[in-house]
Symmetry: C2
Subunit: 128 residues, 2 copies
């Protein structure tokens, strides 16, 4: 067998969902289908998939790691709530290559902002 049922299910969840799920969220989803699954299995498989380059691990300070489809894209991160949003900026590979002599594997671009929801809250005055 090529992929175990857990690998398959986790891969499907990460790539078909709107993405950005934490290990804990994946755990709850998988539990709906295979109630006996353990959290260690989720971590095992998330690591295996991300080592194999089939999914992508995203870490943002202050929140648990999240997992995303592997296709190249960038992220907007809300400075307040940590919410991630996919965004596709112009590809920088060539620009970066021309500015360095070393080879590189890939790059990770995060643009920090205040998401509409948090901005509204701040404008309400109550929260800061």
């Amino acid at each position: 067998m090529c992929m175990t049922k857990y690998e398959r299910e986790i891969y499907r969840l990460i790539t078909e969902s709107t993405g950005h799920m934490s290990a804990e969220q994946v755990f709850h989803e998988v539990k709906n289908i295979y109630p006996s699954v353990s959290l260690a299995t989720i971590y095992n498989n998330l690591n295996k998939l991300s080592d194999a380059g089939m999914i992508r691990k995203i870490s943002v300070e202050g929140s648990p790691d999240r997992y995303d489809r592997p296709a190249k894209h960038d992220h907007m991160v809300c400075r307040r709530c940590g919410k991630l949003m996919d965004v596709q900026f112009r590809d920088l590979t060539d620009v970066l290559k021309s500015q360095m002599n070393e080879e590189f594997l890939f790059y990770d671009l995060k643009v920090y902002y205040i998401c509409p929801k948090c901005r509204r809250k701040e404008e309400d005055g109550t929260v800061r």
Copy 2:
């Protein structure tokens, strides 16, 4: 008093050193000067300084947060050992602004590569 002795010392360490120190490393350095300092104080002050924008917190998956001078610059990250290196690519602020309608606060660009040390190890054949 404007800054406590710990704030002052920690700020100095982060901004004058070659940077990229973890809380634990800062702790050991500060301990040399003020042997009674506790780790909680280090975290308190690192957070205070980074909330105030006086230092910058960098998080890379798989390693503890590190702290850096606040001046705008980018990072190369070794995919194997996690070592950080400062690098100054062309500023992207305008390029990014022109590609989105929202305002943003700042961006974070990390370029992943294999550092010379780790590359050498891999070429030796022994380690993979």
